[in-house]
């Protein structure tokens, strides 16, 4: 028996058997899917040239005259993100409470609401935007509707999860005074779930502003439409401005949510 200098903290000092097999299976699965999604190393290398060319074309003189319109469109995009987050937040409060195991009045209701929230999250914004565009026509409204729909599902689920991990002691303390269900929610459950949930809300706000930039692809308002049009018209002077604007807005939003988070928590 050779005395190994290094060994793992397992019984025999080696990687456990199921880990070894799991690793081999995972590698096999990855290799077989590479063909399926046309992940071809040669093609990837060959496309390097055209990618370089595209990036080179971005380095043109920006179309400065476009800025006023850009600002207007950017503002519309931010508004879409903010409004949809605010409305989704309001809608998710009752849904989240009903979807949390410890605050839901009845198990049947709990399962129904859980399923409803799952349904809302099941399809991405872009798909719901397509649905709403055909329902109410082009413009920011179907975009906002799609964002509200999807993020209510997210916020409801995350609120429910924040509520489920709330410190039970505080809740029992308020209950023991004879407080009712709604009062216990307001004075114990919500304040205790807040720090956890506020992080989620800020993330969703960030996500919604970014999503709003893309919904224009299907004609649901925001800066995405401009982005696609300048791309199709090879208008690189505008494209570079749009990309920069999106980058700046997302960065500012990130800073803002950091500040808010540290203040609340």
């Amino acid at each position: 028996m050779i005395a190994w200098k290094w060994r793992l903290p397992t019984k025999d000092g080696f990687v456990p058997l199921w880990w070894r097999w799991g690793f081999i299976l995972l590698l096999g699965a990855l290799a077989s899917t590479a063909v399926l999604i046309e992940l071809d190393v040669l093609r990837l290398l060959q496309s390097g040239g055209s990618l370089w060319q595209f990036l080179g074309q971005l380095l043109t003189v920006p179309d400065w005259a476009y800025i006023p319109k850009l600002l207007l469109k950017m503002l519309e995009t931010i508004e879409m993100g903010v409004v949809s987050t605010a409305i989704a937040l309001l809608l998710s409060l009752p849904l989240g409470v009903l979807a949390a195991r410890n605050t839901s009045p009845h198990p049947v209701l709990y399962h129904c609401i859980r399923n409803l929230l799952n349904l809302m999250r099941a399809l991405p914004e872009l798909v719901w935007a397509l649905v709403f565009v055909s329902a109410v026509g082009l413009g920011p409204l179907p975009g906002v509707m799609a964002l509200i729909f999807v993020t209510t599902g997210f916020l409801g689920k995350f609120l429910a999860e924040s509520i489920e991990v709330v410190d039970a002691n505080g809740v029992i303390g308020v209950k023991s005074t004879g407080a009712g269900w709604l009062q216990t929610l307001m004075f114990a459950v919500f304040p205790l779930a807040l720090p956890d949930f506020i992080g989620t809300v800020l993330y969703i706000l960030d996500h919604n502003v970014r999503s709003a930039t893309i919904l224009g692809l299907v004609g649901a308002g925001g800066i995405g439409y401009e982005l696609v049009m300048s791309m199709r018209l090879f208008n690189y002077g505008r494209l570079i401005l749009i990309a920069t604007a999106i980058y700046i807005v997302v960065t500012i939003l990130d800073r803002f949510s950091d500040v808010l988070r540290s203040r609340v928590i």
């Binding site: 002691n169 505080g170 029992i172 303390g173 308020v174 209950k175 023991s176 005074t177 004879g178 407080a179 009712g180 709604l182 009062q183 307001m186 004075f187 114990a188 304040p191 205790l192 807040l194 720090p195």
Partner: protein
């Protein structure tokens, strides 16, 4: 007339564990009662049954002649305030808000949605806060306070309910000796001045001997001692802290050497 009557009330959990065997106890108004017993003797369950946080599986609990049912649960809770080992406050809210929650039973639901309290409720809360000597901390967040101060907020919340009974579940178990004495003094003062009946679960025999008018010993869900502190001798302590296998719980040595 007794303020609390526990009539053959017992609690068996769904998994078959018997927390409290059917027990009968009566409490005189305005008295200070201590319940002693090893961990897992059913002390907490007994207190929680009186407040309705646990529903007895057998027997009944009667507060001032009123039997506790699911219909009057909130009303009974409002009259039997609780003080907890872990304080059970909402740490993120400020002191006065925590104290005001003692008035929630008397506030209409729509005002609670906007965190509004009437003038009378504010007066009572301020009075309670001055009783525990924390008026100057009213706007501080509770989780910024020391353990002793937090328990004072817990007592103030209980006082704000204007209850007939304060049930204290190990009120000093997470506090240092000095803070413990402070809380026990406060509870005794409340008992004597306001005539509020105190039922306190305690871990330390010395505290029970020093503050209570009556000591109840609980062991494995049975009452094994019920008399004045003067009548409590070492033989009784042995009965209270005895384990199933005949050995004696560590708390006895602590209690005797105290």
């Amino acid at each position: 007339m007794y303020v609390i009557q526990v009539n053959r009330a017992g609690k068996t959990y769904e998994n078959g564990t018997i927390a409290v065997h059917p027990t009968s106890l009566n409490f005189e108004p305005g008295t200070f009662n201590a319940i002693l017993g090893p961990s897992g003797a059913g002390k907490s369950t007994l207190l929680r049954m009186i407040n309705g946080l646990e529903i007895p599986t057998t027997g009944e609990v009667i507060i001032q002649g009123q039997t506790l049912t699911s219909q009057n649960l909130r009303q009974i809770r409002s009259r039997t305030a609780m003080v907890f080992q872990q304080f059970n406050l909402v740490g993120r809210l400020n002191v006065i808000t925590n104290v005001l929650t003692g008035r929630l039973y008397y506030s209409p639901w729509w005002s609670s949605v906007f965190y509004l309290f009437g003038q009378r409720d504010w007066k009572i809360a301020q009075w309670a806060l001055s009783r525990v000597g924390l008026t100057d901390k009213a706007w501080e967040r509770v989780d910024r306070l020391s353990g002793g101060q937090q328990q004072r907020v817990g007592v103030a919340r209980a006082l704000t309910q204007r209850p007939e009974v304060i049930l204290a579940d190990e009120p000093v178990a997470s506090l240092d000796p000095v803070a413990s004495e402070g809380i026990m003094e406060l509870l005794r003062e409340i008992c004597h001045q306001d005539g509020i009946t105190i039922v306190a679960n305690l871990h330390q025999v010395s505290l029970a001997m020093g503050y209570a008018d009556r000591i109840i010993g609980l062991n494995q869900g049975h009452v094994v001692f019920d008399d004045s502190p003067q009548a409590l001798v070492e033989e009784n302590l042995r009965a209270i802290y005895q384990r199933k296998d005949g050995s004696v719980d560590d708390s006895l040595e602590m209690a005797v050497t105290d």
